[in-house]
């Protein structure tokens, strides 16, 4: 089987990637500013909702219901879409999905296609596959366009170019669009408008993702801000939508929950500027050919894991990225995947499905387990619990290591109070390493600690020794 392109080939493990990112002062500054801005705005947007917690609970329950009845609901969706003139395709993996989309583009003799930002197509590496097949995909979302024109990689789920500031964006636009433009955000947005306008008006095939698909009506829902989505979903003759099999809601009514949870969690707005809903083909309005490609690509194997499957509730809002202290400092590219941050740390390794893959296996450890992600997740994914669950899988896959031997020894010591006390007494000898009550340098792996922090010298007597002397 081909490797899953959800992780980028050749990416280093998280600590190695972070080493490089942490030294990038421009990146650090850009992320600090952007995540700080959105954190405050999201908090305000959520604070005005008196029923936020009830919405989160409903969101969690609806998504759990989807996962419990996924086969039935997918078949129902297929029937609804087909009945309204759409064509449904199924793909087991990225390679199969890419081939389906390429064949559909070729059938329209399309040399160029316009694209709405979509995580599913980024996950399967669709643009590269289309390019190899002679079809050029033009990203129309502003941030995706910045990434594409900068020959860069995405670093955020919602704003893939979050690692770029206005002056870097200006430089990319001037170089690739051949225009003079200032670094004012409004001018940069105008430059993108002018650059893409002709493409929107003339391109015959569009490719989109889907935020939600309503099983009982066959309606597909895309939330966006700029209007590039509306352009792609309305003007071309053929529309190809690629979505993960978990992006369903059972009924139209269920959308009332997610249309409240998603905008406030992602862009911190009461509602995003544009949401488009379409069902199959509408005569006289919009694309007259509609294809829906349903992709598995590791989702069914994730579904098998009773703890890990909650990652499939994710609605890709990126609130967890914005509050994550690790993400804020390392940026998204350190995760080596289109899914960075806390959700990426649990979703990516599960989609890869191989804990012997060193890079993917390093991701569940890229967290201090502070829990800020769980607190903001609109569908209540208990990310810290999934992280520790996946860490256990990694440890199992690794077998015997220096760490596992040390952990076994520690567990053996803790299992008996007398062994523990002996170890405590032996350890307290370390105070002879200390100067002025602190230890400033320890051998490996303690050196990883003392590289930036002192260690207090162990006291002469532990608490239990004191207790025995004074109270025992």
């Amino acid at each position: 089987m081909a490797r899953n392109p959800v992780t980028w080939l050749g990416s280093p493990t998280f600590p190695k990637a972070a080493h490089k990112a942490l030294a990038d002062t421009q990146l650090r500054q850009n992320l600090r500013k952007a995540t700080g801005t959105i954190r405050a705005r999201r908090a305000a947007a959520v604070a005005e909702m008196t029923d936020w917690e009830m919405l989160r609970v409903a969101g969690e329950q609806i998504k759990d219901d989807v996962l419990a009845r996924l086969d039935t609901l997918l078949v129902q969706l297929e029937e609804s879409v087909t009945a309204r003139g759409g064509v449904v395709h199924w793909a087991r993996d990225a390679e199969e999905a890419n081939r389906i989309v390429l064949d559909l583009c070729r059938a329209q003799n399309a040399a160029e296609v316009v694209k709405v930002k979509s995580m599913a197509t980024a996950e399967i590496g669709l643009n590269e596959a289309l390019e190899a097949g002679g079809v050029h995909a033009i990203e129309t979302d502003l941030a995706e366009l910045i990434v594409q024109l900068g020959d860069d990689r995405p670093s955020h789920i919602l704003v893939p170019a979050i690692h770029r500031n206005r002056s870097e964006i200006r430089e990319i636009f001037q170089r690739r669009m051949g225009v003079e433009v200032s670094d004012e955000p409004a001018d940069l947005a105008e430059a993108a408008r002018v650059y893409l306008r002709e493409k929107f008006l003339t391109t015959k095939v569009a490719i989109s993702g889907a935020n939600f698909a309503v099983a009982d009506t066959g309606s597909i829902v895309v939330l966006e801000s700029e209007g590039n989505g509306r352009m792609c979903l309305t003007l071309p003759e053929t529309l190809i939508t690629v979505m993960g099999i978990e992006k369903l809601v059972p009924t139209w009514q269920d959308l009332e929950v997610f249309l409240q949870l998603l905008p406030r969690s992602s862009t911190a707005e009461r509602m995003n500027p544009y949401t488009s809903v379409w069902t199959g083909v509408t005569p006289g309005d919009g694309p007259q050919q509609f294809h829906l490609v349903l992709i598995d690509n590791g989702r069914t194997q994730t579904l098998e894991d009773s703890i890990g499957r909650q990652a499939l509730r994710c609605i890709r809002c990126s609130a967890c990225l914005n509050v994550c202290p690790v993400y804020e400092r390392t940026g998204g590219q350190s995760y080596g995947s289109v899914y960075p941050g806390p959700i990426g740390a649990i979703l990516t390794p599960q989609l890869v499905g191989d804990m012997h893959d060193k890079q993917a296996a390093s991701l569940p450890f890229a967290s201090s387990l502070c829990g800020a992600c769980f607190e903001v997740c609109p569908v209540r994914i208990d990310i810290p619990s999934v992280l520790t669950h996946l860490r256990a899988e990694v440890v199992e896959a690794k077998g015997r290591t220096a760490e596992s031997v040390a952990m076994s020894a520690a567990a053996w010591i803790f299992a008996s109070a007398s062994r523990y006390e002996k170890a405590q007494k032996a350890g307290s000898l370390a105070r002879f390493l200390a100067k002025d009550g602190k230890i400033t340098s320890l051998p490996w792996p303690g050196s990883k600690w003392t590289s930036s922090r002192d260690v207090p010298a162990p006291p002469q007597e532990s608490f239990r020794t004191w207790w025995r002397k004074n109270r025992g």
Binding site: A18, F365, R391, E403, F414, W449, F463
Partner: protein, 237 residues
């Protein structure tokens, strides 16, 4: 009221003055405190690092040691969180376990514990106290009632300090970057004392401040609350 102290392995071994302060404080408030000597570790390090199977016997041991007490009090939000939230997933039913501030405010119903601590203090509300246990504003309420104490709000107080157990070693550089920002916030307050309800986070932030010779001393909440005019807090050598 009979209360068992779960000192936690870290405090027992490295910070005995904190455990002694808990005993003093609870006794002053009329509790009878016991320290079952058979206690060791809650298994948090093992569990959080992926050694779930090793954590299971430690969870069982915890229940065996403490099952006959009405209340168990730990001077650590993360260890109390491990017991309360994680032990049940490891197949045990632990006895009622509280983080110190919760126990004082929720069980004993006090916020003014009669303490005196004439220093400028800032408080870091550790992640597990805040998000796993939902301790909320209780430590701040306790500190506000301490005589002589000048409490300064810590900027971005809810942000993680970067400790995270073995995270501090496995992702040492990211942990250090988080620590740098936390230290900056601490130093911005001009406080002479940094307090928290968890010696693990205090060891981390304090270890960084010590390396910088920043002149800010980490002091566990229990030691502040135990301090009185008659018997004031003294730095342990």
């Amino acid at each position: 009221m009979k209360v068992a102290l779960f000192a936690t392995c870290l405090t027992d071994t490295f910070f005995p003055s904190t455990a002694r302060a808990v005993v003093r404080l609870l006794e002053r408030l009329g509790c009878s405190v016991e320290f079952p000597l058979d206690q060791t570790c809650c298994g948090q390090m093992h569990f959080n690092t992926g050694y779930r199977e090793h954590a299971k016997p430690l969870a069982r041991k915890y229940t065996d040691v403490f099952q006959n007490y009405d209340y168990v009090v730990a001077p650590s939000g993360s260890c109390a969180g491990m017991v309360r939230e994680i032990h049940p997933t490891l197949g045990t039913s632990p006895p009622r376990t509280f983080e110190l501030a919760e126990f004082l405010v929720d069980v004993l119903g006090v916020t003014d514990v009669g303490a005196w601590f004439p220093h400028r203090v800032t408080y870091h509300p550790t992640c597990h106290s805040l998000r796993m246990l939902g301790v909320g504003d209780k430590p701040m309420a306790l500190l506000r009632a301490v005589k002589g104490l000048d409490l300064v709000e810590l900027p971005d107080s809810t942000h993680c300090c970067g400790f995270g157990g073995t995270f501090a070693v496995k992702n040492a550089e990211t942990s250090t970057a988080m620590l740098a920002d936390k230290m900056r916030c601490v130093l911005d307050t001009g406080a002479e004392v940094l307090s928290a309800g968890d010696n693990s986070c205090l060891m981390h932030i304090g270890g960084g401040l010590s390396r910088l010779r920043a002149g800010v001393r980490p002091v566990h909440l229990a030691e502040i609350l135990a301090s009185t005019e008659e018997d004031p807090w003294r730095a342990t050598p």
